[in-house]
């Protein structure tokens, strides 16, 4: 499918794509879905999601112990080996302890013109935290204005909000179409689309995603019999192969709770009223990430809701090894699933995937239980 091939292209070599973009506009790297991308975009910049995909992470060893997650090791290696030199800077929202230290190490070991910490509140459910959230956004806006000598107007913010709403709406539509008929496109392709959407220039992403959503909507909806419906839950999936192996084992990941999936497109930003308030509001209502706090059971309830909505028969927890926030939530989320009789399995990934044969056997065993 033509509309999908372009996404493959970007994901196969994101750094090359970045080089191209940075000839046209300045790019700012980020690595967490709590980055207020709209503000970056409204400053005329390109927000570029860092996945740390390059395979050699040896240079990170000089700065990070072996017990650091592969995402952060990968990102640090990319920047220290000069692969990200075309960036104009980076932004670090407060996420987990590891990202917090990545921010320090990045700041101390690189020389980009721009750098910002966006120290968002950890609680998202109290009035004072929400007031603080908005103030942090305002500070970030001012940091960008000062750093790049631009002015981020309300009008440009509103424009960016509209554009991001389009991106999120299309992504959701694509995910929902595929949930309805998993035969439409493969999970690996969907994964590449989602990751590509975070890397592509936003205007391009918006139109490509809209086209893809339209095209998929027009296709006949194949629903092959006898396949199982599963959901992926965890930090992020940057290895499309997982989908391929899962599909070989007879199951389709029809929905997810991942940074590279529903957590990215969940919730739209209100298009009226104060733009920063509206951006902040989306984060209060969006599915929460385990590094943030709302209610004690928000993630569990959301998980069961998704299980119901998407008729999920089993859950694969996809954990990056050494990821504390997700590892702490795993037993409780599993408990919620157990309570409903939904089987689950845990796949811990450290850098590379386990050998295909081994993973296939694991998935087959799991799928047979469903």
């Amino acid at each position: 499918m033509e509309a999908i091939r372009a996404f493959h292209h970007v994901i196969d070599d994101p750094l090359k794509y970045l080089e191209g973009v940075s000839l046209r506009k300045k790019a700012v790297g980020y690595c967490c879905s709590y980055t207020p991308e709209e503000v970056i975009h409204a400053a005329g910049l390109h927000p570029f999601r860092l996945f740390g995909l390059s395979p050699d992470t040896g240079v990170a060893d000089g700065h990070l112990q072996s017990y650091c997650c592969s995402l952060v090791r990968g990102v640090l290696s990319d920047v220290l080996t000069g692969r990200l030199d075309t960036l104009s800077g980076a932004v670090f929202p407060h996420t987990c302890d590891t990202i917090q230290r990545l921010s320090d190490i990045w700041r101390m070991n690189t020389k980009f013109p721009f750098f910002a910490d966006v120290v968002l509140p950890v609680k998202l459910d109290t009035p004072s935290a929400r007031e603080y959230f908005e103030e942090v956004l305002a500070k970030f806006r001012a940091d960008l204005e000062k750093g790049f000598g631009v002015s981020v107007t309300d009008a440009s913010l509103k424009g960016s909000i509209k554009l991001y709403n389009l991106i999120r709406t299309s992504l959701r539509k694509i995910f929902e179409l595929r949930s309805a008929s998993p035969g439409l496109i493969s999970g690996a392709e969907l994964n590449k689309v989602a990751m590509g959407a975070m890397i592509l220039e936003r205007e391009t992403a918006a139109s490509m995603l809209a086209d893809l959503a339209d095209e998929l909507g027009r296709l006949p909806a194949p629903s092959p019999a006898g396949r199982k419906r599963v959901m992926l839950v965890g930090s992020l999936c940057s290895q499309p192969d997982i989908h391929a192996i899962l599909e070989k084992a007879g199951a389709d990941a029809v929905w997810d709770d991942l940074c590279t999936g529903s957590r990215y497109f969940d919730g739209l930003v209100r298009e009226d009223g104060d733009p920063l308030t509206a951006i902040a509001e989306r984060y209060y209502s969006r599915i929460i990430c385990p590094a943030k706090h709302s209610s004690l059971t928000a993630r569990g309830e959301n998980l069961l809701k998704s299980v119901d909505t998407h008729r999920v028969e089993g859950v694969v927890f996809l954990m990056l090894k050494f990821c504390d926030p997700h590892a702490f939530d795993y037993p409780y989320l599993k408990g919620f699933l157990d309570g409903r009789g939904v089987p689950s399995t845990l796949l811990e990934i450290e850098g590379q995937l386990p050998p295909e044969g081994q993973l296939l056997t694991r998935f087959e065993t799991f799928v047979q239980m469903l």
Partner: protein, 410 residues
């Protein structure tokens, strides 16, 4: 006869006193249901003073974690947490405590059940997740004091946010206890807190004396009261006595090591289940651990505290603690300590349990070597989970490290 005499002299009379105080404290905490007092579990870096004002007994799972580690029960409890689904890569305090709550195991038969949980994330994101787990398990109210990370600065927005949360904290306690906050008493508690911290600082400063009268291992032990009973007269009296004892020793010429040749700085938490072994191993080389970055955390933010305005100024003091600042800020403290205590080498405890403390250590290590020109070494462990610790590998490294120091210093 001579050697045991000296040994006796070297052990502290304050040590027994502290054990007694801690025993009484835990008895009080465990009998709270009978005495009608409320119990709050609180994180080690959390503001305990409002609890003392409200006559709520503060209980520290981290202090308990240290006890678990020291009594070699960590491995077993951590394994139980793993069986519950908690990854073996998580903080061993958290794993041990989570298992303990369910098992009612561990030293002193487990901690008393909390009536409320107070979680201040100025030390890590782990405590947030850990306290969420306990809030679900015990079904009691959880108050989160969210202290934004201060990479390089403490912005006004953050100050306002934390300030407002102190009001929320007090309102939370008023609801939980069903009585108003006693402003009058809070002045007294604030005064005692400052006095306790000053005395604790004086205790730690005493090791600037050459040779050192106490070691960082002693500090790890004596730390318990400034953590758990900060803001009380008991802590003040205890540290005053301890300081006096230390000064007596300096006068009497009784020092931590009989023959101190080298002075070492320790970074990160202690390895609770190998304190004595590490102490002996370093001592066998004539090396004394004179200071550490961990125990200083309980007096390190004194500079932000205004004695005449305690409850206003702790906003900054509790936010800008050692673990809640950037690596380049931390290294300044390390440099200061190297100079102040005149150390010959730095031991980096790379603590798998504590990512916010450990990531960035390699950068600190590099700067220490470059700027201060002293040797460094790394020891890896999970501070309360003894299962993966390798004594022989660690010993080899310590020996090699000490050889370098000896070669440098003679």
């Amino acid at each position: 006869m001579r050697a045991p005499e000296k040994e006796k002299k070297r052990s502290f009379r304050s040590a027994k006193r502290m054990r007694d105080i801690m025993t009484e404290y835990y008895i009080n905490a465990k009998t709270a249901p009978q005495t009608g007092k409320k119990v709050a579990w609180i994180t080690s870096g959390g503001p305990v003073e409002p609890l003392i004002v409200m006559d709520v007994i503060p209980v520290y799972p981290e202090n308990y974690g240290a006890m678990i580690g020291a009594s070699h029960m960590g491995g077993d409890l951590c394994a139980k947490a793993e069986a519950m689904g908690y990854s073996s890569d998580l903080c061993s305090y958290a794993r041990a405590d989570i298992a303990c709550a369910v098992e009612n195991g561990g030293p002193i038969g487990g901690l008393p059940r909390p009536d409320m949980l107070i979680c201040c994330n100025n030390i890590c994101g782990t405590v947030l997740k850990w306290y969420e787990v306990q809030a679900r398990y015990f079904g009691v109210p959880l108050f989160i004091l969210d202290t934004p990370f201060c990479h390089t600065e403490f912005p006004d927005q953050a100050r306002k946010y934390v300030r407002r949360q102190f009001d929320e904290y007090i309102a939370f306690l008023e609801t939980a206890c069903g009585r108003p906050f006693d402003e009058e008493k809070s002045l007294e508690v604030g005064r005692l807190s400052i006095e306790g911290q000053k005395l604790w600082k004086a205790v730690l400063d005493a090791t600037a004396h050459k040779p050192a009268p106490i070691t960082a291992f002693d500090a790890f032990f004596f730390l318990a009261l400034i953590v758990t009973l900060r803001g009380t007269q008991v802590a003040v009296d205890f540290y005053r006595d301890l300081l006096q004892e230390i000064n007596e020793r300096i006068n009497d010429g009784v020092f931590a090591l009989e023959n101190e040749k080298y002075r070492i700085l320790w970074d990160n938490l202690p390895i609770w289940y190998r304190l004595k072994w590490l102490s002996d191993t370093f001592a066998s080389h004539g090396a004394c651990l004179v200071a550490d970055t961990y125990t200083t955390a309980w007096c390190g933010s004194m500079k932000y505290i205004d004695e005449n305005n305690f409850f206003e100024s702790i906003v900054e003091a509790y936010t800008r603690i050692y673990l809640n600042i950037g690596v380049d800020e931390m290294v300044k403290t390390v440099f200061e300590m190297i100079d102040k205590y005149q150390v010959d080498g730095l031991v980096i405890h790379s603590n798998r349990s504590c990512k916010p403390y450990s990531f960035g250590q390699y950068d600190i290590e590099k700067m220490v070597r470059e700027v201060k020109g002293i040797p460094t070494m790394t020891i890896e462990s999970h501070m309360t989970d003894e299962r993966s610790f390798s004594e022989s590998a660690t010993k080899t490294r310590i020996d090699a490290f000490m050889e370098i120091i000896k070669a440098r210093k003679g």
